[in-house]
Amino acid sequence: MNYKRLTLLCGHYGSGKTNIAVNMALDMKKRFENVAVADLDIVNPYFRTKDSSELFKENGIRLIVSEYANSNLDIPALPDEMYALTDDRTMRAVLDIGGDDRGALALGRISPKIVEENDYEMLMVINKFRPLTPDAESTFEVMREIEAAGKIRFTGIINNSNLGDETTAQDVLESVRYAKEFSSLSRLPIVLTTVRKELYNTLNGKIENLFSLTLQAKPVD
């Protein structure tokens, strides 16, 4: 995809933002020198971008994350380097925003500057297999809540419909209809459809703008 300076990933929690952020940053790094991932999640206690910190280091990607992420300090904390995202305009960055409207509250802190600069994509990550967003209407409701909390409007959609390890190519194909319904309801384009790399070859050519994901390691099988 053509990356704007900032790519903001938002959505219902558990929609897959973190995995997409990790993969997108690696993809960005192929084309740009100064690349960062910013973890602005103030909701999730476990399974954060910080789990991939070694990978980022190896690839020369800057990780902007609260020093308390993955620690025992259980308070919503934002990284002190967060302002570099809007101050350093030589940087390309993926912003992993916490789930739902509560997570998007953190975004409201910097969204006025992002809107002012106007070189961003804000993408709604959707997954039809999540129980609270099974259809276009419920997903639209979450989207509006996020926009209200984050004080910024979405520009596109990432269809990340999946059932974890059990996702089949058929599941992804069937989710296209849901994504299209949500697209027409929200009047936003489907920018990407993301699938784990094992399914990429099967689906390549069948779905537009397909993006392959290598998933973060899980603590147990």
Partner: protein, 354 residues
């Protein structure tokens, strides 16, 4: 596959409770179980149920007492420090013979501890937590699917035996996401003639109470309760066995530890070591039978736990100390790795742990 959804363990508990007919949830947020409350807050108002964020854990458990007295399926959830606060209420529920579902998504302790996963509330769940002679049915899920299924089962057992069922999960189980089928069969709830639902001037008052003024009567209540517990110990133990039949080294592990251990057992088998796994699904009643049987052929048991070694005592009791039982553990929010468990198995195979 389309009939499945992708859920966090905490969400699966909440949705399964709704499926089981629970329309009353009282709780107080605490990591790593907060999604149970968050899910209930979203769902309950839409289906005519009650979600109430109480002013404290103590208030929440007493609200559970009230709704249960009125005969309705009711639950609360928390994580370790919050369950300690509920201790008094758990004892009062037991003393009043009230069914309830209590969820503990454990974190590292003691004290405020941390927010990472743990299994160190095993003693608290299986030995009390509150005061007095009582038991709780303790269910230990090892997948998001089981988080859902055991929640339904927990409500059913609670109603059948008029006591508290506890889901003893850990932070990983609560936070991890897996595909779940919510097509879970729910048995109809039994009649509750004891409930305080109003006499309609047709019967005597029902009284729900844990106070007994006459010691002889209180003794009889305790005796009767323990007769019921005896039935549960005979009828309700649940467990999973994995490659146990010919095993020399047997792992005992529940919840997340059992998943790590299964990987290690597979690796050990690939190396030619006869390893197996017994996974208790009910921690009380503890499944003694498979352990006793396996002690007939096994050379050693290894209890794999996210604690300083708590279930190991039940393993020793169940195996009647016929063979050595050793501990393989991490604590304070850390999870044993499959490699660590494999090392313990290899050590045991050498006969080095005696």
């Amino acid at each position: 596959m389309a009939d499945k959804v992708l859920m966090k363990g905490n969400e699966a508990i909440a949705e399964a409770a709704i499926i089981a007919g629970c329309r009353h949830y009282f709780g107080y947020p605490i990591t790593p179980q907060t999604e149970v409350a968050a899910y209930m807050a979203k769902k309950m108002p839409k289906i005519g149920g009650v979600f109430l964020q109480a002013e404290s854990e103590i208030a929440a458990i007493n609200m559970v007492y009230g709704v249960s007295s009125a005969g309705k399926r009711v639950m609360t959830s928390s994580s370790s420090p919050g369950i300690s606060l509920k201790g008094e209420g758990l004892s009062y529920l037991a003393g009043s013979d009230l069914p309830a579902l209590v969820v503990n998504v454990q974190r590292g302790g003691p004290g405020l501890g941390g927010i990472q996963p743990s299994q160190s509330d095993y003693f608290q769940a299986t030995r009390g937590g509150g005061h007095g002679d009582y038991r709780m049915i303790v269910l230990a899920p090892a997948s998001v699917q089981e988080m859902a299924e055991l929640t339904v089962k927990g409500f059913e057992l609670a109603d059948t035996y008029r006591m508290t069922s506890m889901i003893l999960a850990d932070g990983t189980m609560g936070q991890m996401m897996e595909p779940v089928s919510l097509d879970i069969e729910v048995k109809p709830a039994p009649e509750k003639p004891w409930a305080t639902t109003g006499t309609k001037m047709e019967r005597k008052h029902n009284i729900v109470n844990s106070l007994s003024l006459v010691p002889e009567e209180l003794e009889q209540l305790n005796f009767a309760r323990y007769e019921r517990y005896k039935v549960i110990e005979e009828k309700e133990p649940m467990f999973e066995e994995y490659m146990v039949d010919d095993a020399d080294i047997i792992i005992a592990a529940f919840g997340i530890a059992s998943r790590v251990s299964k990987n290690a057992v597979n690796e050990a088998r690939a190396m030619g070591i006869k390893a197996g796994l017994i996974r208790p699904i009910t921690l009380w009643p503890f499944p003694k039978a498979p352990f006793k049987k396996a002690a007939g052929h096994a050379k050693q048991f290894i209890s794999v736990e996210l604690s300083m070694g708590q279930m190991i005592e039940d393993v020793r009791l169940a195996t009647e100390c016929k063979v050595p039982v050793t501990l393989c553990n991490r604590a304070g929010g850390m999870i044993p790795s499959p490699e660590q468990v494999l090392e313990a198995i290899k050590e045991a195979a050498k006969g080095g742990n005696e």
